[in-house]
Chain length 256, copies 2
């Protein structure tokens, strides 16, 4: 068991940066990785531009255990992820024999022309490992420590489900939250003192606009469940001591 396995996520595509579409992948990927102890430490949204994709992948692949990408593996001219990954891992881009065979059979069976554009989707950097996924005929794959997935959420989700069991997992970070009716200005000093005493726990303070003004949600995260329990009790006592109320009910959150 690895203490911590780290990951970065690269969302490739102009459509999120232009504001045309709301990203629907980051949260899902973060939660899925977190559930097996792979910690997402950075996410980037970058355009369909070869220089940017290559330099981003080169930088992140040395800094993190895994780099996940979404988007840009379809058959059209703006799908340039695979050629960029090939450059980043310093391998030629070539037809993957298994992917090619599967795709040819798939299209033949449906009497669909396996044309040049569709064959492009069978290209991977040399030595890549396919992610088998029934959700899409165009396979995702792993090249070095880069995991290449589709951008369409449903297909991405199938690929992620398929690939996660093949990756190394780490210790799982547990998270608790406590809602309070106090403003951050009152909580700040006692929170800072508690954070100093619990260095193994990350304490986050998230103000949320509610009808009455602001509430604050205190989130604690750690791989150490015992420390979380102790801190949870101390947080409740602290909130009461500074004149507030709390509850630990989990509510849906929308603010950042």
């Amino acid at each position: 068991m690895n203490e911590q396995v780290s990951a970065a996520l690269v969302l490739i595509g102009n459509e999120i940066l232009s504001g045309r579409t709301q990203d629907a992948n980051l949260k899902y990927i973060a939660e899925s990785l977190g559930a097996v102890g792979i910690v997402l430490l950075e996410a980037r949204v970058i355009p369909d531009a070869q220089d940017t994709i290559v330099s981003t992948l080169r930088e992140l692949k040395t800094r993190f255990d895994y780099v996940f990408t979404t988007g840009g593996i379809g058959p059209t001219h703006d799908d340039i992820t695979s050629q960029c990954v090939a450059i980043a891992v310093d391998q030629p881009l070539e037809l993957h024999p298994v992917a090619f065979k599967n795709m040819r059979a798939h299209f033949q069976k449906r009497s669909v022309d396996f044309n040049e554009a569709r064959q492009r989707m069978a290209k991977t950097p040399r030595g890549a490992t396919l992610i088998e996924s029934a959700a899409s005929i165009a396979p995702g794959y792993i090249a070095d420590n880069i995991i290449v997935m589709a951008g369409v959420p449903k297909i991405m989700q199938h690929m992620l489900t398929d690939v996660i069991p093949t990756l190394k997992h780490g210790r799982i970070t547990i998270s608790r939250q406590l809602h309070t009716n106090l403003p951050e200005g009152v909580l700040a000093q006692p929170l800072s003192d508690l954070q100093a005493r619990y260095p193994q726990v990350g304490i986050g303070s998230y103000p949320q606009t509610v009808k009455e003004g602001f509430h604050v949600i205190l989130v604690t995260r750690s791989t150490d469940a015992k420390a979380l329990d102790q801190l949870d009790n101390e947080l409740r006592d602290m909130v009461t001591a500074v004149g507030g109320q709390h509850d630990s009910q989990t509510r849906p959150m929308v603010t950042s």
Copy 2:
């Protein structure tokens, strides 16, 4: 009028990376900037970690006209954005006299203790320009070309509205979209030919899962309205020529 004004966005905070909260700021900021010709070219989500924040800001501030940040300007121990911006712009972090005066008056009026934690929110890098915003007593500000805003969406939106008129604007990119019932494998080659003939237009192809399988949305983006009109006609003709149907109705999109 500047031809193109570029921007990067840095979303600071552990809560998006952990998957606990869905980002609610990127799309709003991208659309708001796009409306005045400021083009968002990269977005990053990074944790509340000083080294990462400083190195990210230092890199992006040299690459783009503006760098926008959200999050980490509250009074608690995990709010470290301002100290990081100060390092990135090479200025001391100090009490901003106007912010301090406004905040002191605000809290005195409400008989609320203007304690040390709250005073922290009045600190900016030396020489920063405040963003006046009625939505929050803790001001956002501009330091060099870095625009520092709150993470809570409602407050961020007020700050963005206030700051945008003070920034340089560029030529506005216009966007059109055309829905088709064709798969990308059929569209790929003619699209590639059209893209080669319209280098001043970005053509994006976005498959969307629908009940019947996949539809494709063709998105064109350019500052050249005339070229967009011409291309739009050619795209319709092309879709018809390869046996498909199209419409140009704008529909809400959720996929990436």
